[in-house]
Amino acid sequence: MIRLRLSRSRTLNSLVVLITICIVWELVVDLLNIPQYILPTPTSIISTTIKYSNYLLRNLLDTSIHALVGLALAAMFSLTISLPLAYSEAVRDTVYPLITGFNAIPRAALVPLLALWFGLGSMPKILTAFLIAFFPVLVPTLTAMVTIEKELWELLMSFGATKTQILIKVGIPRAMPYFLSSLHMGLTSSFVGTVIAEMVASDSGLGYVILSSTSRLDTALAFSCLILLALITFTLSKVLSVVERRVVGWAYRVST
């Protein structure tokens, strides 16, 4: 009860800080006569958001769907390849350096190529999200699978467990909390990926709206997009946290 009240009052504190920042922002822009196309005031951002709400929501939905599909692919791909990688050290030693090497390529730089190969549709958006998101999901998942304590390993071997059984009975469940928490990283990464792809090779989505609105000096609209992106990832992250507590409550020592 006390914790709940405490966390509520903390949320209230955050809101107060946020509102204060907005007021200061508004005043600074007004008093220093900063042009709206350089830095729009919070009030003009809000009115722009309301004015373009349909348009913004449509594009927000577009971006979110592509980012989430990319994330889902990244999650499935990471889980799938972490199994053979965890099972065999030989496979791991061969494939893992290649994956790490690939991760060193700035994936944003691949968007023009993806557009060249797949055209200006959904494909480059999903693929960019996927390419940026899979690595932060794979690494913790795989690490959790391959770092089973030696004693636990011996205990399982003592009653005849095979390597496959150890991976299924221990490796995978042990990796689940790491996998789910890495999805938070993956979530922001996939939105970054989709937005980049939309800026380079698309005519829809919030990335495209940001690019076209800034080129028209409609800076307030670009700010609307940024705020919506922050809100959507924040909200989805919260949803993910709820799922985490439900699915791997044991990792957080939550009694059910």
């Binding site: 304590e149 004693e151 636990l152 011996e154 205990l155 399982l156 071997m157 003592s158 009653f159 005849g160 467990a161 059984q165 009975k169 221990v170 469940p173 042990r174 689940m176 791997v248 044991w250 990792a251 020592r253 009694s255």
Partner: protein
Amino acid sequence: MEPLVRLRNIAVRYDGHRNGGLVAITDVDLDIYQGEVVGIVGKSGSGKTTLLKVLAGLIRPAKGEIIFNNHKLNGNSFRVGVLFQSPLLLPWRTVIKNILLPIEVLGEDVSKYLSRALELIEKVGLKGFESSYPWELSGGMQQRVALCRALIHKPSLLLLDEPFSALDAITREEMWMLLQDVISHEGCTTVLVTHDVREAVLLSDRVVVIGGRPGRVRAEVRVGFKRPRDLKLQYTKEFNDYVVRVRGLLGD
């Protein structure tokens, strides 16, 4: 009477590059009889855990043979239950599911062992905690769950490796009595590896002293007290004579 397990001339070498072919134990002969509790004591690094791992089938000896019920084994194939110092329970499984893990791994029908699991839980005094998670239990309670897990599949040999050294003195004494009770109830042949001489004397029918580098069996002391034994036995002269004798055999 033929021994249940007979180790003949066992030697273990660690080939890992870090140890550079270190010989951990050599010339080890050991007979373990049905229903017996054998304590193995030795200083750290004496190879007592290595010996336990040989019995558990976790290490294949470089030399020597293991005879089980008069059959020579290539690699181990008899059932063992192991209890380590740390309970090693899986935090995502409830108490009962942790206990049934060996049955799942062995590919046997879990439902057939459910009543046995509940019986063991009751025996170790954890009735009512079947659906608790390990992290909701104290260290001693977790170790009791681990003991049930070690016994669920009716192992031929119960192997205990410093099982109580992580517990506080009072909990340890409770666990001694509990273990003794469970062992006699299950009638299981037990090997207890420990560096606690008092623990070994109190619980074992026979104490085997291992020492030297590489480790060898230095001596065997038969403990003449009838089981079950009482905690008060620790404060008798006869008990202390045994402790002093075994301690002396361990060397400085």
